[in-house]
């Protein structure tokens, strides 16, 4: 077959295109490219719906306090210092803040107390996606401005807690002049907005403010953070450029939380980890946070990847746990739950799912938190003999007559109970599937019948909430700043976030005492007691803390890989001529 003229032309064009594409001028040095697995969807500053959305908002907007990724503490950002705390009686707290005098909005206007007041009111303005913010910040009941200093104000909070100084400063501030130039929200007090019923007739002023807020294109609402959104291609990438006159750089030395070293940040959306891994090896990507265990190990074992990349692995605050539905009669007693807890081979699971990188724990407080972690307790052992003995002690015996012989026990009223368990977990998570399978095999060996029910992520939360499970395996997301266990284990949260259904008067008192503790020492004592109580009552079995794995270009410095989300400090990363060490522990 002779090649035709048109065929040759087509071939030539294809080669020319290929060469042109290969030699396209890609300036890889000016920006830092970070992988995100999914698009942030919205940059709603009042309620960022996901971690990428929060990270993006963190670049454009600033909060009073901000996480310092090198010390893993909340530090003053927009605020000049930590707030001063004043307890009023036994039911009120006043926190006084002062905003940095150099802090300005994009248009050069100063950031004032009125902006903070406006932001708090906007959180309670009907018709806006702000419901989570309402739940988080409903403890602030008023902002008292200082008539002599427009940058000074006091937040009046309901109740008293050691955590208020931190949690009161963790929201992004919105410019009043941009959203509400006529000051419509000033007609309302914060308390009035907080008291509005959900279905109250719409006030025209509130509707107008809500419309004005929503009229801003994503990222177009002026911020007082170091970056501006310069491009957002949905499901493809977001580009942020550092402001030419970033007020944070006027403070010398610039605090860590106000540093903005990269001139441009590109967040590229790559859903598949294998694709992201290839892009990282090719140099099309600079930072790959939250690398899955096997992909991380594969990269570490590749000599070509080792030459180009640095690998970091540190413990995170996310803990894999198994939980019981304590409302089920068969799981109502602690002895049965503790026996079943001994069927988890945690060390084996860490090896199988995290390739040995996880951290065993006695409770849901991270071992990294040395002040509060109860190191006098031992992690629950994998001991099937002890588990069988404890089940016998709890009254369970083998039913030999039935075809599918399992464990049964007779309660005082003559009612026969069977120990057959349904374990739910999120279908797409291999760590949970492995844990559930290991538990199933171990439990079967002592006569406990276990069936597994992988559940779609959206339905999973709903089924836990409705109590349609016997056991679950899931991750609990933690942080080192908050110790409010009311949502997880208090009777006030039954039917909502307390999905295990566990609560006793004693546990309620202990959880309340933790939230009210006035000194760190007292809090630490109570938290240690709380961990002991959780291990004794065993409504959940904490298995292990997951690691945070980051793989990055070796020429990057200032990553500060840490245990907080997203796992590294985005704004301090820099490209350097000297490669960084290959791996950190």
């Amino acid at each position: 077959m002779k090649p035709t003229f048109s065929g040759s032309l087509l071939l030539f064009a294809a080669i020319a295109l290929l060469l042109q594409g290969c030699s396209s001028p890609e300036d890889k040095s000016s920006s830092i490219r970070v992988r995100w697995s999914h698009d942030p969807e919205t940059l709603n500053v009042l309620q960022p719906p996901s971690q990428p959305a929060f990270d993006a908002a963190n670049l454009i907007y600033t909060s009073l306090l901000h996480s310092n990724f090198s010390t893993e503490k909340l530090e003053p950002a927009l605020a000049e210092d930590y707030p001063t705390t004043q307890y009023i009686g036994d039911s009120l707290t006043r926190l006084s803040y002062h905003i940095r005098s150099v802090a300005t909005w994009d248009d050069g206007r100063p950031v004032l107390a009125t902006d903070v007041d406006f932001t708090l009111k906007l959180m309670f303005c009907p018709g806006l996606p702000n419901e989570t913010a309402q739940l988080e910040f409903d403890f602030i009941r008023a902002l008292i401005p200082d008539p002599n200093d427009p940058r000074h104000f006091t937040l009046e909070c309901r109740g008293q807690s050691l955590e208020y100084p931190q949690s009161s400063g963790e929201f992004f501030i919105v410019p009043e002049a941009a959203v509400d130039p006529k000051g419509l929200l000033r007609r309302f007090t914060l308390a009035e907005l907080q008291r509005l019923p959900p279905n109250a007739p719409a006030d025209s002023a509130l509707v107008r403010v809500a419309r004005q807020y929503q009229a801003f294109a994503p990222g177009a609402l002026p911020g007082c953070g170091p970056y501006q959104l310069s491009a957002w291609e949905k499901d493809r990438y977001l580009t942020f450029r550092r402001k030419e006159k970033w007020w944070g750089s006027k403070i010398q030395p610039t605090p860590f939380v106000l540093q903005a070293r990269p001139s441009q940040l590109d967040f590229v959306i790559i859903p598949d980890a294998s694709t992201a891994s290839l892009a990282l090896q090719r140099g099309d990507l600079d930072v790959f946070p939250q690398v899955p265990a096997r992909e991380f190990a594969r990269l570490q074992n590749s000599s070509a990847a080792r030459a180009k990349l640095a690998f970091y692995s540190v413990p995170s605050y996310d803990v894999v746990t198994a939980g019981f539905n304590t409302r089920r009669p068969a799981l109502a007693d602690a002895l049965t739950r503790k026996a079943l807890g001994r069927c988890f081979d945690t060390a084996g699971l860490i090896k199988a799912t995290q390739l040995g990188a996880g951290q065993q724990t006695v409770g849901i407080i991270s071992p990294l938190d040395r002040a509060n972690y109860n190191d006098s307790l031992a992690p629950l052992p994998f001991d099937l003999t002890a588990a069988a003995a404890m089940l016998r002690q709890a009254g369970w015996r083998r039913e030999s007559t039935a075809d599918d012989a399992g464990l049964v026990r007779t309660k005082a009223q003559g009612e026969l109970q069977r120990l057959r368990l349904v374990v739910r977990y999120r279908a797409e998570e291999s760590t949970f599937a492995t844990a559930a399978l290991q538990f199933q095999a171990a439990a079967a060996s002592i006569g406990v019948a276990v069936s597994l029910l992988p559940t779609e992520a959206g339905s999973f939360a709903a089924t836990l909430k409705s109590g349609d499970f016997d056991m679950y395996v899931r991750t609990l997301k933690g942080n080192p700043f908050m110790f409010n266990y009311v949502p997880l284990y208090h009777s006030r949260a039954l039917g909502q976030s307390n999905v295990t259904g566990f609560s006793t008067p004693a546990s309620d008192r202990l959880i309340d005492a933790i939230t009210r503790a006035r000194t760190p020492k007292r809090k630490s004592q109570l938290l240690r007691r709380f961990q002991t109580m959780l291990q004794t009552e065993a409504p959940i079995i904490p298995l292990f803390f997951l690691p945070t794995r980051v793989a990055a270009n070796r020429n990057l410095t200032g990553l500060h890989v840490n245990s907080l989300k997203p796992g590294f400090a985005i704004t301090t990363v820099e490209r350097s001529a000297v490669p960084s060490p290959t791996t950190t522990p």
Partner: protein, 356 residues
């Protein structure tokens, strides 16, 4: 003929409406989960600062439902249960219901607003289609052309037909994600051949490049995804068409044509191909809904935006307006594809007549 066509078109419209209505009503039964997605899940956070008061959570949930318009009754009629007696009875809700609001919106061209992003559904679908159509359209066109060319040669019975058929059957057995990953690991891997880019349509840094360089970059980025789609569609089309052509070549009219001195390829082109196309037309028409629905696997593997990812993410996060809008679009495409197949049958074989 015109009446017949009109009748079929009306039936198609009716079917699309019924399909979208069923999806709307079924999906909107699960409004609580949609509301939960809008609120952070406190049961997932250790030491959450969120209010744990059940009453406040309920109020927040009501506010979400109100904001999303999910606090209205679902349909014109519904069963109301009276507590504490537990008795229930049917009740007329009037026109202030979710379905009526959605239907009147659709008739005015408004498909609603995304729960997640606040963008209009039409804008989201159009944005995704703008990425999807060039990908799936090019792949479908090249697949059909390649299948036509390859099947004609295979039907002529060359010496290489057996290995090529074996190759096509083997390829047919491979799932799309395997093909896509293989291509990626072979041709975008620095440890094998780094000939093509790994992800996306271009890079943020190429935005300032010349139009020619940007086009070249775009084409380069599309090579592997399109190849993956072609490789999965090609075997089915080719094998079916080859079998059909082989059957036609054994018929009397083909023997007569050969006896008259026509070459093998001329017999195929001028006589057998049109008759052999009949079963393949259905397959080609089936490609139309896929053009609109996108190719989720390819979009995920090559990090491309598009309809597949949009709809999968909308389903996972209970973004019902986007989901129903997507179903409406793909459903309409499928039904139109069936209509198109009928028309193509008529063109390919004039003996076929529609029965009204």
């Amino acid at each position: 003929m015109a009446w017949s066509l009109l009748w079929r078109f009306s039936r198609t419209l009716l079917a699309v409406w019924a399909l979208a209505s069923v999806v709307f009503l079924l999906s909107h039964h699960d409004t609580d989960t949609a509301a939960q997605f809008a609120l952070s899940d406190s049961s997932e956070f250790v030491g959450s600062g969120s209010s744990s008061d059940s009453a406040k959570y309920q109020a927040a949930q009501s506010a979400v439902l109100h904001r999303l318009g999910l606090d209205l009754p679902l349909f014109y009629v519904g069963r109301i249960t009276f507590s504490p007696s537990g008795a229930s009875q049917w009740q007329w809700h009037g026109f202030a219901n979710q379905y009526h609001r959605w239907l009147t919106g659709v008739l005015k061209g408004d498909l609603g607003t995304s729960f997640r992003t606040g963008q209009t559904v039409s804008a989201r679908l159009l944005q995704a289609l703008a990425y999807t159509l060039p990908l799936t359209g090019t792949a479908a066109m090249l697949s059909v052309l390649a299948a036509l060319g390859l099947a004609q040669r295979l039907a002529a019975g060359p010496w290489w037909q057996r290995p090529v058929r074996t190759l096509l059957v083997s390829l047919h057995a491979l799932p799309l994600f395997v093909v896509a990953l293989l291509l990626l690991l072979l041709f975008a891997n620095p440890e094998v051949f780094a000939w093509f880019p790994t992800y996306g349509l271009d890079q943020p840094t190429t935005l300032t490049a010349s139009p020619w360089a940007r086009t070249a970059t775009y084409v380069l980025h599309m090579v592997l995804p399109i190849t993956a789609l072609i490789l999965t569609a090609l075997p089915d089309l080719t094998l079916q068409l080859t079998a059909s052509l082989t059957h036609e070549l054994g018929s009397d009219y083909a023997a007569t044509a050969r006896a008259k001195g026509l070459s093998g390829s001329a017999v195929i082109r001028h006589h057998a191909l049109r008759n052999a196309l009949l079963p393949t037309l259905t397959q080609i028409a089936e490609l139309l809904p896929a053009l609109v629905a996108g190719a989720l696997v390819v979009e995920v593997v090559f990090a491309l935006p598009g309809m597949g990812r949009l709809l999968a993410e909308a389903a996972a996060s209970r973004d019902y307006p986007v989901l129903v809008g997507g179903v409406l679009l793909t459903g309409a495409a499928r039904l139109l594809a069936l209509l198109l197949a009928d028309l193509l049958y008529l063109w390919a074989d004039p003996r076929i007549r529609w029965q009204p």
